[in-house]
Amino acid sequence: MTIAEPQRTHALNTTRTSIAAASVGLATRNLRGIRRLPSAFLPALLMPVFQAIAFSGTFYAITQIPGFPTDRSINWFLPLGVLMGSGFAGVGIGLAAIRDIETGFYDRLRMTPAPRASLITGPLLGAVARSAVVTTLVVAVGMLVGARLSDGIIGLVPTYVAGLGMAIAGTGWGLGLAFRFGDMRAAAIMQLTLFVGLFLSEAQTPLYVMEGWLHGVARVNPFTNVLRLARQGWLGEVTWDNTWGGVLALAVISALTLWFARRGLDKLDG
């Protein structure tokens, strides 16, 4: 008679995963997704580059409007490309969340001992990293085709800050919609609202050039302040007057969208 050896068991790990560790893990997974599914990230990476170049070429003549703040159209449109790309990098997190919900991965994620907040902060870190990549690429290509900083290297800081802020706001909005809809219906809403929100601002021309209804809308649209923040290093000196409005707008929008995402996650938990 043989006696079976007792199975070696591992002690159950009951310690709660820290929010930082879980967030980094989820952010890493998110960034690995770029390598595994590049077709989902490449449009968000290339479209802002194309947009900056195409708009600056097509609308080159607007720099000849008296009083236009720059004689380089790429200086005007490059920051728009950064904000668009960063915003879509954030929205891309929402799209990834929809995929995870549809495949059931999110249910498994919610059953882990990871803190609930990390399900938002983790993807948020991924979005911030994606935004940094997008911003760097748009700036590099933009400078190759003629963009020039008007206040030295310091002018890049507000552009990056605006890009990161847009990525955070886009992530909150994307995750919030993904948690509420749970399917690809949310994709169109998250992309369309970001697109419309940005274009109903100083996206194409300065306020003083606009006529009619758009002037009234753009004047009260917080994205006008965000664009002013992002553009200041390309149009003149970096000043507090051009900074605080954009930073405040981003802080408020980000807080609201992240709250929206958290509420959506709580509802998902039932």
């Binding site: 194309f50 195409a54 000849q64 194409q204 021309t205 050039v209 009619g212 758009l214």
Partner: protein, 277 residues
């Protein structure tokens, strides 16, 4: 009277067969199916209507003062100037939707079921393209009706407006045929949708939104060689200058010539796919 087309019935792949009245009926049924599909799934076609109108509304307000810069033609408003570009943008986007539906038919096996039935082969494509043409015409008319109350003036008058509708229809046929060719070659709706950036580039690297005379450098060179520029300019002349032979040639004959080539290419792709199946 008999007209011959390639591969008109099941089992006669690549053969030249007489066009039978039932083939016309089948093609008509395919066309109706394509149109009804658009009607039943408005979410697929609404973007190709809303986005051009949205951009036009934005541009009319944003670029109102740009019409005074050197090189800009004399126009009553930016709305008049950019109207032709909006039509082309809408038709380009709408045509991708039609071709994506064809690729979806291939993916989900409906295309194979059609081949297994004694249906006309060219009718599969012609029906789809006819549906796209009807949508292109409807889009152009819709844009006119929506924008006329907002101050759009078509200097070419009713004949100019008709020419614009014809131009939109022919452009839908051209782009639809090219996209259908891609759908048949790849059999993938994702690949067809992936061509969207190419369409976007063709549109933005042209004079669709601003005149070529105001562009400079390599960008102006791209626009000079881009056929979309000439198509848009022909349509635009009908709006901002009035009827002229040169405008009609560019607005109607250019897309007609392009359509003939594109349809020939798509039929060739169909024959290749039939031969391979």
């Amino acid at each position: 009277m008999t007209v011959t087309v390639d591969g008109a019935s099941s089992g006669d792949t690549g053969a030249r067969v007489a066009l039978h009245p039932s083939h016309v009926a089948q093609t008509w049924a395919m066309s109706k199916r394509a149109i009804i599909a658009m009607w039943r799934q408005p979410s697929l076609v609404v973007p190709s209507i809303v986005f051009p109108l949205f951009f036009l509304a934005l541009g009319t307000s944003s670029f109102a003062r740009a019409t005074d810069v050197p090189g800009f033609p004399a126009v009553d408003s930016y709305l008049d100037f950019a109207f032709a570009g909006a039509i082309v943008q809408g038709v380009l986007f709408g045509s991708i939707t039609g071709a994506t539906a064809l690729a979806t038919d291939i993916e989900n096996g409906f295309f194979d079921r059609l081949l297994a039935s004694p249906s006309t082969r060219p009718g599969i494509i012609v029906g789809r393209l006819a549906g796209g043409m009807a949508y292109g015409a409807a889009q152009t008319i819709f844009f006119m009706l929506v924008l006329l109350p907002f101050g759009l003036t078509i200097k070419g008058g009713p004949i100019g407006a008709l020419a614009l509708v014809l131009s939109g229809t022919l452009l839908a046929l051209t782009v639809g045929a090219l996209m259908s060719m891609m759908a048949m070659r790849t059999g993938s709706s994702e690949a067809v949708q992936g061509s969207f950036p190419l369409v976007f580039i063709a549109l933005f690297f042209s004079s669709a939104f601003f005149p070529r005379e105001t562009m400079n450098g390599i960008y102006a060179t791209f626009a000079d060689y881009n056929p979309v520029s000439y198509l848009v300019e022909g349509m635009r002349d009908l709006v901002i200058e009035g009827l002229s032979v040169w405008a009609l040639v560019r607005a109607v004959l250019l897309p007609a010539a392009l359509a003939a080539g594109a349809v020939a290419l798509s039929m060739r792709s169909l024959n290749k796919r039939l031969a391979a199946s």
